[in-house]
Subunit: 159 residues, 2 copies
């Protein structure tokens, strides 16, 4: 394995481990448990799960991996706060979560190590020229941190 | 910049941005605000701050950067849960946080890109031979996720 392959593999492993923890945590909750708030007056568990699902779905076009699978989730879980919209059922969300993250992971493995260092698709050529660290690998690491952030919140409402 | 340098720089940037958010969040709180729980019956903000400080301090020996600055924090913030020990004051913690994270960041910049892919110091040669992704870069990315996880919790208690 080259150094470059190794560095990318470390970042993908980290993503994989956080996504697995999130999937395991939320999949184990009942519909009723998912309706609990993580702290008084804060987001419900189901909203956080849907939010992570929508944000991960948006990684397909950002990473140049093709169109989104469920763009309709954005209005519910990104553009609007919790309790503003009718939410999908827990079983639908579970299906979306596994579809989206399964496909992402298999596509990650098809990206060559050097391609991870290329510009991502949510920025201009000009900005990338100024700052080459704004690449695909940065998107992967940033979304892993985002999932960890919300996982920490979800763990508070546990049981 | 080589690909390898770029990959390491992306990971350090991510660490830096999360550490800055954590520092800004906790440093802005009063002693009273720091005594609030992040959710009913959960850790207090000051405990989470101390916990992150202790875990970051432990990165010096794990990454081969020399001895810890404040090993005494482990008993209070890692080995024991919140409310089991007398805690340092907010102003002491703030000082430790900035000392530890300032020194870590400056030392990160002295590690050559290839050295980030070497075995970290909390594992045996034998385990590293089996799995070379258990390297220093993996420790950096994992601790960044850990900080994001607790930052997400701290944000719930905000204001």
């Amino acid at each position: 394995m080259t150094s470059q392959q190794l560095a990318v593999k470390v970042a993908i492993n980290s993503w994989k481990s956080v996504v697995e923890r999130v999937g395991k945590k939320f999949s184990a909750l009942t519909e009723d448990q998912l309706l609990k708030e993580v702290a008084p007056g804060k987001n419900r568990l189901i909203y956080i799960w849907g939010h992570l699902t929508a944000i991960h779905d948006a990684m397909f076009p950002i990473l140049g991996l093709g169109p989104r699978m469920h763009p309709e989730l954005d209005d519910i879980f990104v553009a609007n706060p919790d309790k503003a919209r009718q939410l999908p059922s827990a079983s639908e969300l579970k299906k979306y979560w596994h579809e989206i993250n399964g496909k992402l992971l298999s596509q990650f493995e098809s990206i060559a190590p050097d391609e991870w260092l290329l510009q991502h698709h949510a920025m201009s050529e000009e900005d990338y020229a100024k700052d080459p660290t704004r690449n695909r690998l940065a998107v992967l690491i940033s979304r892993t941190n985002h999932a960890s952030y919300h996982l920490g919140q979800a763990m508070l409402a546990a049981k």
